[in-house]
Structure formats: C-alpha cells, structure tokens
C-alpha cells in the first residue's frame, strides 16, 4: 500500500514517444491540439486531464481542460461506432482499460518476501516496482492520448459533436454515459459482432480490393494477436531476469560485507550486477514499448479495420435484402416505390461505405508500415545501445578484477 501512495500524487507526463511511434503524424494540425498533460491515480480509477488548444470557432474557448475517466473514453468510442455516417471509416480503437494488475501482484509478492531480504534489496525491489507502476501509468496515459489525437487529426471525426462535448463539457460525463449505455448496450454490440464474423466469411466478395483486404486482415489479425501475446511473455521473462540481478547483487553484497577472507572482488561483482540490472531493465522496457506495444496497438487497429469490413458487409447484406424486397414488391406490385427508394438508399450507403472504406484501408496500410519501420529501427538501435553499455560495464569490471 505504501507504493500506492507514491502514485497518488499527480504525475506530470511529458513524453509523447508512444504517440509518435504508433501513429506517425498526429497532432500536427494547429487548429485542434489535444494532449493529456496530467493524470491522477486514485485507487482503481485514473483521472485524465484532457487539455485542448484550438483555433476553431466551434469551441467556446481557445484553450481549456477537463477531467475525464477511462469510461468516458469508452463512451466516446462507442458513440462513434454507432454513428451511421462513420460506418465507412476506421474508428480508432478504444484505449484499453488501465491495468495495474501485474505491478500490483508483484507488490503483493514483495510484501510477502520482505522478511527474507536485506534492507537494500527490499529498497531496490521497491524502486523497481515503482518504476513499473510508473511505466504502466505512462502507457495508459499515452494510449488514451493517442485515441484523442487520432480523432482530432481526422477530417471527419474532429467535427463530431460528441467529441466536442467530450473535450469541452466541464462537468461529469457520467450522466450522459449512462444514457448511452442504455441505448446501445454492450450485449447487443457483441451479438452483432459475432453475426458479422459469420457474415463476412460467408459473403462472396466481388470487389477485388475488398476481397484481398478481407483475406489479409483476417489472417493478419490472428497472427498479430498471437505475436502480441508471445511478445508479452518474452518481455515479462526479460523483466524477471533483470529483477534476478537485483537479488544476485544484494546477496553478493552481504557476502562480501561479512566475509573477511579475501573475496573482496565480490563487492565489485555486486556493483556490476546492480548496474547491469538497470541496463537489462531498460532493455526489457524498451522492448516492451517498441515491440510489444507496437504489436498490441496494431492488433487493435486491425480489429477496427475489420469492423469497417463488417459494417460494409452488413451494408451489402442490407442492399441485397433491399433488392430482394424490391423484387418481391414488384411481383406483388405493392409499395414498389417505397422498396425502390429503400433499395437506392442501401446502395448509396454501400457505395459510400465502400469508397471511404477503400481510402481508409489504404491509408491505414501506409500508416502501419511506417509505424513498424520506425519502431523496429528504434528497437534495434536501442538494443545495440544497451548491449554496448553492458559491454562497457563488463569490460570495466573484468579489467578491475584482472588487475588485482
């Protein structure tokens, strides 16, 4: 619980590394600049301070801030999804719920193992844990920030009314949220989704572009999902190794302290391990940021792209149904005009969807490739950098030992 108190204070976050990494060219448009400068962690809830700077006349003030919770973001996302006009657009994936489970578990274990550690060891582990908490915290802030920035940089979404409310409304959004939930209901959404999956796989695709996209996205999604979970496991193992170095260092320290016989070089070794673990810790967290986060983000983005395909498939189904209805009406010679109108509507909807869908998917592809490129380059460079520091540390210690 002590560690928790540390995080209760307001944490100022300046780094926008993740934002720029996963989605290049966001927040460039000066007409609407959004960021999350501060966040507060209270118990289980994280309160984000959303800060907006705008030159658009649609807003009441040129600069303002509001406090939002994670649920508010979800509400915003859901409303966008349910908005018909946006059916042909890739809705930016909703930010995942802040998950402090892993550091919390570790903190619990640390508390249990406190008795068996030396004071310094415990302090270091606590430090490490605090860093981890902070990292999770930073990540969640950034992921929420990116969500908003993708909206603000999108020609259509930036004008969304609910988006404006989200940014501006200076009171608690929870009332509005409740209404929305009643209207849309998560259960309904899930039902629709499964139906979509069946639909999409069953429908024959005439358009080559969409056909290719469908195959690609479905396949890619499952692969990237798998890669994400494997990457998570790998990064966690890496963190374990870094943590082990702490224990090795601490035990070596007590060994060299109490040992009067000439095992003095153990002290230097203890030092070395302490330094090494910092580097290893960075390696693990950089890997997480550049690789795991990248995969995670694009997994969600691809899901959003898939959703677009579902909507289009639904529109196609609607159109086909309308066609059938029209034929029926023609047969019965009843309500033909109505049916015809309906059919035209559906066709139009489907066409707009297809057109904008195509645009969105193409730009998505480009975005994704760029993001991967950037992150893979950065990760490789960081790995090299850290390995070089490790080598320097090791070299120094070896020389020190040899010279004695």
């Amino acid at each position: 619980m002590r560690v928790y108190k540390v995080l209760k204070k307001i944490i100022h976050l300046g780094a926008k590394g993740l934002a720029r990494s996963v989605s290049v060219d966001l927040n460039n448009d000066a007409s609407l600049l959004i960021d999350i400068p501060d966040a507060l962690c209270e118990r289980d809830k994280v309160k984000f301070t959303v800060h907006t700077k705008t030159t658009l006349g649609t807003f009441q003030k040129p600069e303002f801030s509001v406090s939002r919770q994670h649920e508010d973001f979800i509400w915003l996302h859901d409303t966008l999804v349910e908005t018909e006009e946006y059916a042909g657009l890739i809705i930016p994936p909703a930010p995942p719920k802040p998950d402090f489970e892993s550091p919390r578990e570790k903190m619990h274990k640390l508390g249990e193992g406190e008795a068996s550690m030396t004071k310094e060891e415990y302090a270091k582990m606590k430090q490490e844990l605090e860093a981890e908490y902070l990292a999770v915290f930073k990540k969640t802030v950034q992921v929420h920030e990116i969500f908003l920035q993708r909206l603000s940089s999108h020609p259509v979404f930036s004008k969304d009314r609910n988006f404006q409310i989200f940014l501006e409304y200076d009171q608690d959004l929870s009332v509005r949220r409740k209404n929305a939930k009643e209207m849309f209901g998560g259960f309904f959404k899930n039902m629709v989704k499964t139906a979509d999956e069946v639909l999409i796989s069953g429908t024959k695709e005439v358009d080559e572009f969409f056909d290719q996209e469908k195959t690609f996205l479905l396949d890619y999604f499952s692969k990237i999902k798998d890669a994400t979970s494997k990457a998570e496991k790998m990064t966690r193992s890496h963190k374990n190794v870094a943590d082990d170095y702490i224990h090795v260092s601490a035990t070596l320290n007590s060994l060299s302290a109490e040992d009067s016989t000439p095992l003095k070089h153990l002290e230097k070794l203890a030092d070395l391990f302490e330094k090494l673990r910092k580097v290893e810790g960075r390696v693990a967290s950089d890997q997480e940021l550049k690789l795991t986060e990248l995969l995670r983000y694009y997994m969600r983005d691809i899901q959003a792209a898939k959703d677009l395909l579902y909507r289009r498939a639904r529109a196609l189904a609607d159109y086909e149904n309308a066609n059938k209805a029209l034929d029926k009406a023609r047969l019965k010679s009843k309500d033909v005009a109505q049916a015809q109108q309906h059919q035209q509507q559906c066709l139009q909807k489907f066409d707009t969807l297809s057109e904008s869908g195509k645009k969105e998917l193409t730009s998505f592809k480009g975005r994704r490739v760029l993001a991967f490129r950037k992150n893979l380059i950065e990760m490789a460079e960081l790995e090299i950098k850290h390995a070089k520091s490790n080598m320097a540390l090791l070299q120094g210690c070896v020389e020190l030992l040899k010279s004695n």
């Binding site: 190794v241 991967f372 390995a387």
Partner: protein, 565 residues
Amino acid sequence: MAASSERSPPPFPEGDEQEPEAEPEDGDSDEGEDIFIGNTKPVEIKPSAMAREPRSEVTAKGQGDIISDPLGELFPNVVEEPSGALVSEPPTDIFSEEESVVTDSKANIDPSTISKANGVHSDEEQDLFSEATVELSLDSPRNERKKIENTRPPVAAPTVSVPPSTSKVASKTLEELEEEEEEDKFELNISITNPEKVGDGMNAYMAYQLSTQTTLPMFRSKSFTVRRRFSDFLGLYEKLSEKHSQNGYIVPPPPEKSILGMTKVKVGKEDSSSAEFVERRRAALERYLQRVVSHPSLLQDPDVREFLERDELPRAVSTQTLSGAGFLKMINRATDAVSKMTIKMNESDIWFEEKLQEVELEEQQLRKLHIVVDTLVSHRKELSVNTGVFAKSVAMLGSSEDNTALSRALSQLAEVEDKMEQLHQDQANNDFFVFAELLADYIRLLGAVRGCFDQRMKAWQRWQDAQTMLQRKRENEAKLLWANKPEKLQQAKDEIAEWESKVTQYDTDFERISATVRKEVLRFEKEKTRDFKKQIIKYLESLQHSQQQLIKYWEAFLPEAKAIA
C-alpha cells in the same frame, strides 16, 4: 605430564619419541644402505604420531616393500594399513622416473612430520627440511633428504637408478616452494570426457574417459587414459577421506549422488535434461579430480595414482547407499554428529574458533547466493524458450504481411529472435556451469573444511580422555599403595606408563592436527580466492561475449528495418 591444554613446543629431537625423526638429520651415509637393509626407520616423513608402532610394522614388511613403495611410506596413514595396500604398487614406477615428485608435497606433509611445534611458525622452519625431504623421497626415501641437505645428488643407493632429482636447496623459502607448487601444478593435466552408457536397464552406468597428461616422474608414462565410473570416484573419496581427514586434511568432497538423474539415464531417456545431467556430472567429476590432484599431499597418495593410471579398478561397492557399508557410514555420521554436540573444547588458540565461525557464515551466504543464481538460471531458460516461441510467431506474421519490404523485415526479425533464443540458452548454461556450480562446489568444500575442524576437536577429546584415564590410573596406584597390595602395584605402574605415553602421543597428535588444519585452511583460502577470481572473470567474459553477439545480430538487422518502405 600434566593434562593441560597449554603446550610449549618440545625441543626438536626429544627423547625416544623423536628418534625416527631425528635420524634423517643425522647420519648421511647410513641412509643409502638402510633402505636395502630394511632399516628400522624408513621414511621420516611419517608424522611422529606414527612414530613407534607403525614403524615396526613397516620394517616388518621387509625390503621389497619399502623399495617398492616409498610413496606409501610418505603417508602418515600408511601405518594404519600396513602391508596390504602398499605392496600392490609396481616397483618400477618410482624408479623409472627421472625427477622427484612434485615439490607440492612440500608444505603439506611436513607439519605432520615435525609435529612437535605448536605454532605455525616453528613448523615452517622445520618444514623446509621436511619438504626438501619429501620431494625427493620418491626416488628413494632416504636419499633425497640427504640430497637436499647436501645440495647435491643423492648418495646413490646402488639400485636406485634415479639421477639426482633436484638439488632443491633446503634453504628455499616457503614462498618459493609454493611458487614451484604452482608451476608443478601444470605438470599434471586431467580431463574427463566421452561419457558413454554401458549396459542396459537398471544395471547400466555411465563410463567416463579419464585422461592424464603429466611430466611427473611418479607416473608410468606421460599421457594415459582410463575409464572410470561414478562409483569409482566415490570410492576414491572414501579411501582418501579415511586416510587423511582424521589428520586434519581437507579432502575435496565428490559430486553428489543423484538417484533421479541416474535413473533417467539408465532408463534410456534421451532427452535434453538427461544429457544436461550427464554433462553436469562430467564437469563436476573433472573439477573434483582436479582439486584432488592439486592438493600436494593427496597427489602423493598411491590411491590417487592408481585411480589415474590403473586400467581396471575393483568396484567400489561400499559407496552404494543401500549397502552394508553405506548403512555403517550413516550410523557413523549420526554418532559423530551427536558427539560433536557434546564436545566442549577449551580453545587455546582463538584462531580456530574465529576461523570456524567465518567458515560457517560463509557457507550460509554461499547457499543463499546459490539459490538466487539458480533462480536466475531458470528465468533465463524461460526467456530463451519464450524468445523462441516469439520468433516463430513473428515469422508467421511476416509471411502474412502483404507489404514486401515489411514482410522481409519481419522474417529477419524472426531470425534475429531465433538467434537470441540460442544466445539466452547459452548464457543460461554459463550462468549454471560457471557460476552456480562454482558456488555448489564451494558449499560442499566448506563442509569439508568444517569437517577437519571437527577432526581436530575429536583429537582434542581423545587427548582429554587419555588425561582423565591417566589421572584415574594414578589415583588407582595411590590407592593400592595405601592399601598396601604390592602384587597389583606393578600392574598399576605399567598402566600408568601406558597411559602416560598415550597422553603424550595424543597431545602430539592434537598439535600436529592443529597445525595441519591451520595450514590446510590457509591453503584452501588461497585456492578459493584464486578459483573464485578465475571463474568470475570467466563468467563475466561469457556475458561480454553474449553482448557482443547481440550487437552483431541487431546491427545486421538494422539495414533491413531501414529498408522498409
């Protein structure tokens, strides 16, 4: 002689007890002939404790024996097992060699010989002589000593065809001798290789190839190979321990038995864990034997030589856990533990008490560290596995990626991660074999060190008990005198004489063992420091190598990532 724990070093040649020792220092000329006459005082090297009785036994053996195994005579313990063990040695061995044996015998066998002295220092002075002696004694027990003292070739005993080994001057300092110790260490190289499964089913066992390369004269040839199995090593340990630990020597403990590990191998499970088990055992056996042969006194032991050289060794059944000998050992250990608890020693030399505490503390700490390092090993192995799994996943992702450049980059990434898997696995092995096993070895060794402190305590107890007995006998005599029973008096007087000599002997024993323990501990500490330093450097260099590889892999990947468009 009052039963007091305080001792003043008896003057060097003292009374009858010292005679054997005194002799070598004396008559030069006799020596050569003596051997062949089967003289009464063969190797002076023997610790004085062995002084009397054993002597006679040895002589009784007759000339042949003495000649054939001067080596055996070097050993204090030899006395305990007279003829039997010694005769087996082929005479040719010793005499065909040119040089004298390793100087290494030096520092260690000696204190025993000149055990009078209490302090280490007085020992050292005398050591010089004994060392000098011991060195050459392999050639011919007597001659060398003479040689050394005369700083010139031996009084060539006729049959001793060995050219004067070395004119190792008696005035060598301890340091110089130790330096030679170091050099000579490299005159004997041991390696254990090629584990092979012999037989099938539950009677199967692993046979290891033991190769020796040496320039030491005491061996038949310069390089030879034998096959040994695990129980042989245990058998060697048993023999060495029996002979030497009670004299305060630190006998390196062998690797542990592992029923589970061996069962897997026997059953024929051909997986990585049993391969790892075999490799672990092989490395441990190698290290064990290297420690044994780098111990100057132990190297002199004929059992060690036999172990290295002899083609077929009788099976060491007494090492089996479920054998009669095994049970006996367990019982002995239990009684030892109990008696250890009840012995309260009046420590006259605070050095021993402090040192024992240090040893115990260090053992505790090493155990903790070992646990921590073990965790590191398993986590790294986990990391390796997870990296491999991830690599495959990335490969799949790359194959379904439609952008060609990105697709290629992803497959390259998969390859890099694949290499990382191997890297982590190798590093985990290093963590284990270089670091963790070092700790495990020293935890066991520290146990052995504690053991020799225990032996010292036992010797002290024996001495105290003898003193008590003597006191009782004296009281008895007084009683008899008072009661005026002359017939029993003579017997009482005899008993007193008997116990008086026992007390003296045990006292001397105790001093000798104390000196040995002290010396052994100092030697052990030096070796430990050296060992640790060497292994730690090796370990760090392996970590460095890993990082180097890492850099190579990622640098190769970078252009691929940059090529994405």
